[in-house]
């Protein structure tokens, strides 16, 4: 009799454990399913999230594949660039919507920058897990604790740099390569440095496969800049640091601008804009991109 009761007692406790286990495995299965869905890349590195520290994990992006057979490569774009800057009609409507959102929500009216954002297929640079959100106005994770910036921040930073095809740009922190691709819409002289080796390898391969022939990438410590290629008219630094590296300030040409997003891991709270005037005097500003919002609201209630 006692055994029977104990049996019941065990049964009472076993079901929550089973339920817990079921929920757990369902969760894991869901994760695996999500991560394996669109993965067809020949490079098919194992996708895993979040990246375990000390583990080399490459977040596979759609851009690691050659553009699919249905993809139309069209060029040049509205800026009239003569160098290689691939284009695809894939998800064009979403790109258009993203640009309109930036234009109307933030009152951002730099047409050249908006056009550049419309040209670059952001989904090529986004991980397979985040494909659905590729054109949402939000930053997205790319693995290794790094992110692809919010489209509006990319637009805003690019606009601040005042670019044209004769200018030379250095990007510190290549990340997914999206910012470099947007910069390429303005100038063929884009140089990019990435410190995290697996990320740098992946982005170099991606840019090469996608046909971004003019972007020069380097694996290394961006703190020292790229002296051989300098001086630069514009520098974009996308990694958080407690001080601005003096070599970068040195490699900024008189009249040049350096832009650094500052804030938490995912969201930019303010942008540091460093300007060097013709006399070499350096000044900086903290810019608040979101200050556009109240202005827009007052005109478009």
């Amino acid at each position: 009799m006692q055994w029977k009761l104990r049996y019941k007692l065990v049964l009472v406790f076993i079901w929550p454990i089973l339920l817990l286990e079921l929920v757990f495995w369902l969760g894991l299965a869901g994760c695996k399913k999500e991560s394996s869905a669109p993965s067809k890349s020949p490079a098919s590195n194992e996708t895993k999230q979040p990246a375990e520290p000390n583990t080399v994990v490459i977040m596979e992006t759609a851009g690691q594949q050659k553009p699919t057979p249905g993809t139309t490569i069209i060029e040049p774009n509205s800026i009239g660039a003569k160098w290689s800057h691939p284009y695809s009609a894939e998800r064009l409507e979403e790109r258009h919507q993203m640009v309109r959102h930036i234009q109307y929500s933030y009152g951002f009216n730099n047409t050249e920058v908006l056009s550049a954002l419309e040209q670059v297929p952001r989904h090529w640079f986004v991980t397979v897990q985040e494909q659905k959100r590729a054109y949402a106005d939000m930053p997205l994770p790319i693995g290794h604790g790094q992110t692809i910036s919010q489209p509006f921040i990319v637009a805003y930073m690019t606009g601040l740099l005042d670019l044209n095809q004769n200018k030379k740009v250095l990007e510190v922190g290549t990340g997914s390569g999206y910012q470099a691709a947007v910069l390429t819409e303005f100038t063929p002289n884009v140089y990019s440095i990435e410190i995290i080796e697996p990320l740098a390898q992946a982005v170099t391969d991606r840019l090469e496969k996608l046909g971004y022939d003019t972007i020069e990438t380097m694996i290394g410590d961006g703190y020292w800049g790229w002296e051989d290629k300098g001086p630069f008219d514009a520098i974009v630094v996308t990694c958080a640091a407690d001080h601005i590296p003096p070599p970068l300030v040195k490699q900024l040409r008189p009249g040049g601008k350096m832009c650094i997003p500052v804030g938490g891991t995912f969201r930019v709270q303010h942008l540091m804009l460093i300007s060097k005037d013709q006399d070499g005097k350096v000044t900086s500003q903290s810019l608040m991109p979101v200050r556009f919002v109240p202005l827009v609201r007052s005109t478009n209630p």
Partner: protein, 820 residues
């Protein structure tokens, strides 16, 4: 034989209690290293929810468990051991990514799974204890005493074990101890054999085959540094004050808020990372002249105003500030460092990587906390240097919002000023955050009010503040700054392109020159605005100050010892304005700590309400003692809330007295739980008149609480100069009467209930657990808004109210007869 059996049972209950608290502390450390402080409350909440839910569960299964309670206790203990041993494995398997939570709702599922993985062990542990309390109501006092004393000793053991084992291994240690506990609970050979098998299984599988690992979020500094291609992990230490990792790489360059036009080279650096995120630089140098780059930060300013000062540095860390002081040839440098492991690493393990900075002739490193050191010494200094002790990234993310800090309160600054030579300087530096500008403004406000409280009148001439793009340095002095010193400040700033915030005689055109700030309501091309200069002017003007505090979007009033939350800037009424101004982008601009705390509180209340009401609805048909439901809810809810409120309030009160955060927690937990255990044990002698004893206990707690509320500072001041160990004993003595009385209401209340409405006893256990869940977040919410004194007042008020209501409660004649 029966006596031995009872002894085994009591010891086993003490072991289970000890393991529950050790596991809780281990999990808190694990989550802190894996993620951030925000998940601290997840662990506390899950643990206490486990206790609450066990009460609900036992309410339903009481009739079934009662006849076989000993076997049930064993089974719960075994399940507790099993789930504890694998808890860290499960946690590391769940791919939670906190940063994605805002937009990836799939992550909420993982968060839920983490919560369940945290909850399950505590649920089984609490079921084991609850079953014992319900089934052995006749000697509840002894069991409750074992529970309390076991928990108290468990807290001390946990802190001791943290020096011996990394926190992920603590789960295995707890699992092993629980197996021993379950063996003591076994009532037959089969159960004994199963306990032994589980013990062997844990030892073989978890130690030999599948050892636990500490997960670290990919967004933490430790993960970033480990990814650098030439990164070498040189050392790894663990302890209750934090996990320390020392990583060497040629790609480490740390210099807080360095001038944009700085050009001096930084010598090779090594990163010392605490808890995976807080980075301190260790710099290799021979001659201090090599540290010229350090002079390109705002922290160097006071050294340009003083000649070879006797300097006190708060927070030695990797030796950055000592290096700066050595560069300026200070005649004597005393550096305070709380963590002995940091001192050992810098001084003994890596002297070559740090320029042997702790052993230089003029340097003395003291293991002490700033406030404690100041209260112990009568020495006066030319310069007291307080650098930013948190890292740039963690400050930007606002992860310290809920952390208490006694370093930046007005009372603290007054104490520092009292330890300055007449012409000495107190120098404080903080990281700046923009829009709304807050940290720097709060620091300015604290400095100004501290000077005022010290009786100085012409505050304007005692204050100098400058800023770089990333840091603000505020200097105050008991004497007015001289013309020569002001000249030095102007030179220092113009050579490094630092902006002037305030100096005696500043004009508006001198501010906002290099790192230009703009008005917050216009776009970037709009009007420039010297935000910090204007803030300093308004704060210095008494007529404008109140309005400035009221109108600012953030909470920028100075922190006090009663409300020591310098890093909390949250304001409810600003939420609407922020949303209006920032639209969808408002989220990163507010400090989430407080909102998450409120969310945890709401979630706890909902869960508690559900789990408390559920058995009530079901039991309504069965329970005869109708009037007891509300009384049970009020009584056990009240004492559950009040106990936690008082305990946390005491941790805050003793933190300054004992000057060591971990020691304070250990002393308070041990003291409270052990003395409460003693109170509980003694209470069974009065089981014939429980109501009267509960009333005496309630009044006693209230009176002692009032004495502490009114004369705490005076009492503490008497013992403050005593050495550390005697102060610990004083702390225990101060807790003893209060904790002793606090141990009485629960067992006597449960005894009364078991006499009049025995079916409600598991429900009462659950209510008590849920009240504790709510109290953990509620205490911090109250303390942030109203201060710790109000927390203490509420707690003692609750005890008195509960005792009075219990005395007045008289639903039927039977209770009279039981009491008389």
């Amino acid at each position: 034989m029966q006596k031995i059996k009872t002894l085994y049972f009591t010891v086993a209950i003490a072991l289970v209690s000890a393991c529950a608290i050790t596991l809780e502390l281990a999990l808190m450390r694990y989550m802190l290293i894996a993620y951030w402080h925000h998940l601290y409350y997840l662990v506390i909440s899950a643990a206490l929810l486990g206790f609450g839910a066990s009460g609900t569960f036992l309410s339903f299964t009481r009739n079934w468990i009662q006849p076989r309670h000993e076997s049930a206790c064993w089974l719960f203990a075994i399940l507790f051991a099993l789930t504890t041993s694998v808890s860290f494995h499960l946690l590391s398997l769940i791919p939670l990514n906190m940063m994605h939570l805002a937009w990836n709702f799939g992550q909420i599922g993982y968060l839920l799974l983490q919560y369940i993985a945290l909850f399950v062990p505590f649920f089984f542990g609490a079921c084991c204890l609850g079953t014992a309390f319900i089934a052995k109501a006749s000697y509840i006092s002894r069991l409750y005493a074992a529970n309390m004393i076991g928990s108290g000793l468990g807290a001390v053991a946990a802190i001791g074990l943290m020096y011996l084992f990394a926190c992920e291994w603590l789960a295995v240690v707890v699992g092993v101890v629980l197996c021993v506990g379950s063996a003591l609970l076994a009532v037959n050979r089969r159960q004994l054999a199963l306990s032994t098998m589980l013990l062997v299984g844990i030892l073989i599988i978890l130690i030999g085959v599948y050892p636990p690992k500490q997960f670290v979020s990919q967004y933490k500094a430790l993960s970033y540094y480990r990814q650098l291609h030439d990164a070498k992990i040189l050392a790894h230490r663990y302890g209750p004050l934090g996990r320390i990792d020392v990583i060497n790489s040629n790609q480490i360059h740390l210099l807080p808020g360095r001038s944009l036009i700085g050009t001096k080279p930084i010598p090779a650096q090594t990163a010392m990372i605490i808890d995976g995120d807080s980075v301190s630089a260790m710099t290799r140098f021979g001659n201090p002249v090599e540290l010229a780059a350090f002079d390109e930060t705002t922290l160097a300013l006071p050294y340009h105003l003083l000649s070879k000062p006797v300097t006190l540095i708060v927070g030695a860390g990797g030796g950055f500030d000592i290096g700066l002081a050595l560069y300026h040839k200070c005649s004597k440098i005393i550096a305070l460092e709380l963590n002995q492991q940091v001192i050992d690493l810098v001084r003994s393990v890596f002297p070559e990587l740090t320029g042997d900075v702790f052993s230089r002739d003029s340097v003395e490193v003291v293991k002490a906390e700033a406030r404690g050191f100041m209260r112990q010494t009568s020495q006066k200094f030319d310069l007291i240097q307080i650098p930013p002790l948190d890292s740039f990234s963690s400050a930007a993310a606002g992860v310290h919002a809920l952390n208490e800090s006694y370093l930046y309160t007005t009372e603290a600054l007054q104490l520092y000023i009292q330890h300055l030579q007449p012409k000495g300087i107190l120098c404080l530096t903080r990281w700046l955050r923009y829009w709304p500008e807050r940290d720097g403004i709060k620091l300015l406000a604290t400095a100004i009010e501290a000077l005022e409280h010290e009786g100085l009148t012409d505050i304007d001439s005692h204050l100098i503040a400058v800023r770089s793009w990333a840091t603000i340095t505020v200097m105050i002095s008991p004497s007015a700054f001289s013309v020569a010193q002001i000249e030095s400040v102007l030179n220092f700033c113009s050579r490094r392109h630092f902006d002037l915030v305030h100096y005696p005689g500043i004009t508006s055109d001198q501010a906002n020159q290099y790192h230009v700030l703009h008005s917050s309501t216009e776009n970037f091309a709009g009007e420039q605005k010297a935000v910090y200069f204007e803030a300093a002017q308004q704060l210095l003007d008494l007529r404008q100050r109140k309005g400035f505090y009221t109108n600012h979007l953030c909470q920028v009033r100075p922190a006090t010892d009663d409300r020591p939350y310098f890093h909390d800037f949250f304001r409810w009424r600003s939420l609407k304005t922020l949303r209006q101004l920032l639209g969808d982008n408002w989220a990163p601009f507010i400090d989430w700590g407080y909102l998450l705390l409120v969310a945890a509180l709401i979630q706890s209340c909902i869960l508690a309400a559900l789990c408390i009401v559920l058995p009530l609805v079901c039991l309504r048909l069965k329970v005869g003692a109708k009037g007891y439901r509300l009384h049970t809810l009020v009584y056990f809810g009240g004492i559950g809330l009040a106990y936690m409120l008082l305990e946390i309030s005491f941790i805050q009160r003793l933190a300054l007295f004992l000057s060591h955060p971990v020691a304070t927690v250990a002393v308070v937990l041990t003291g409270f739980l052990c003395f409460s255990g003693l109170g509980s044990y003694v209470s069974h002698r009065f089981s014939h008149q429980p109501r009267r004893v509960i009333m005496i206990a309630g009044v006693g707690i209230f009176l002692i609480g009032i004495i502490y509320l009114l004369w705490w500072d005076e009492i503490i001041t008497v013992f403050q100069p005593w050495p550390w160990w005697p102060r610990c004993i004083v702390a225990l003595v101060l807790q003893a009467p209060l904790a002793f009385l606090m141990g009485i209401p629960f067992p006597l209340g449960l005894l009364l209930l078991s006499r009049h409405a025995p079916l409600l006893t598991p429900w009462a256990w659950g209510i008590n657990g849920f009240a504790s869940v709510i109290a953990t977040s509620l205490t911090v919410c109250i303390a942030i808004s109203f201060g710790h004194s109000v927390v203490l007042l509420i707690a003692i008020g609750l005890y008195l109210a509960v005792a009075i209501s219990n005395c007045l409660f008289n639903p039927c004649q039977s209770s009279h007869s039981a009491d008389s």
